[in-house]
């Protein structure tokens, strides 16, 4: 079974600045996938980025990038050049031989 922990219930960032959201996970599986999902006030769950555990290279999607530390079981999300539209709940999730397990989320506020 997998567990996902997000230790920051809330974070804030100034517009145009960079922010990093933390996530740690625990799994006994050798092959698994890690995800970050964004949930804006509209409630829609939107996939931000996906990382395959067997790949050493950190995934990047435009302003979003991850820092994947496999030995430490850490998977943080970095948002560069933060925009007002980035304000949302962010969920870290893991899957392997079982479907997605989510962390409790981090609420990100963006200050103009």
């Amino acid at each position: 079974a997998q567990t996902v922990t997000q230790s920051q219930p809330e974070m804030s960032v100034q517009e145009a600045e960079t922010v990093t959201l933390s996530c740690t996970y625990d799994t006994s599986e050798s092959d698994y996938y890690l995800f970050w999902y964004k949930q804006p006030p509209s409630r829609q769950m939107i996939l931000v980025i996906r990382q395959e555990a067997y790949k050493q290279q950190n995934a990047t999607e435009n302003r979003f990038s991850v820092n994947f530390q496999k030995a430490a079981k850490s998977f943080s999300l970095k948002i560069s050049d933060s925009q007002l539209g980035d304000a949302a709940m962010y969920f870290c999730a893991a899957s392997g031989n079982t479907p997605l397990v989510f962390g409790k989320g981090t609420r990100l506020s963006v200050i103009a």
């Binding site: 409630r43 996906r50 395959e52 079982t98 479907p99 997605l100 397990v101 989510f102 409790k104 989320g105």
Partner: protein, 117 residues
């Protein structure tokens, strides 16, 4: 754009009533998941299907919840009888699984906000 469609978007009902939530997965997807979101518990997996076959529903209270896929275009989650503690947002998600790992990108519906009075 292809998307997962959930109905209804909002549902208010009284304790003891039956509630049915519906989900139309993205055409061609072969996996369907039901998640429940609450402030206290976060996102919990209730049940999931692959190729319409139920694989696991251990996350659901068996005595009152049931999940089915009558066909490839419809998944349902039913609560009978409903209780106030069932109040939550219920999400349906679909994906295309091609290997033994649950590695596919999941596409979520907009959820059903259920309030049981």
């Amino acid at each position: 754009d292809a998307r997962v469609t959930q109905t209804p978007r909002h549902k208010v009902t009284e304790m003891g009533q039956e509630v049915t939530m519906r989900c139309q997965p993205i055409l061609g997807h072969n996996t369907v998941f039901w998640y429940r979101q609450t402030m206290m518990q976060g996102l919990e997996l209730l049940a999931y299907f692959r190729n319409r076959a139920p694989l696991d529903d251990s996350g659901m209270p068996k005595d009152r919840f049931s999940a089915e896929m009558p066909d490839a275009t419809l998944a349902t989650l039913k609560i009978q009888p409903s209780e106030p503690r069932d109040s939550a947002v219920y999400f349906c998600a679909s994906g295309l699984a091609t290997t033994g790992l649950w590695n596919e990108k999941l596409f979520f519906g907009s959820g059903t906000q259920l309030s049981v009075l």
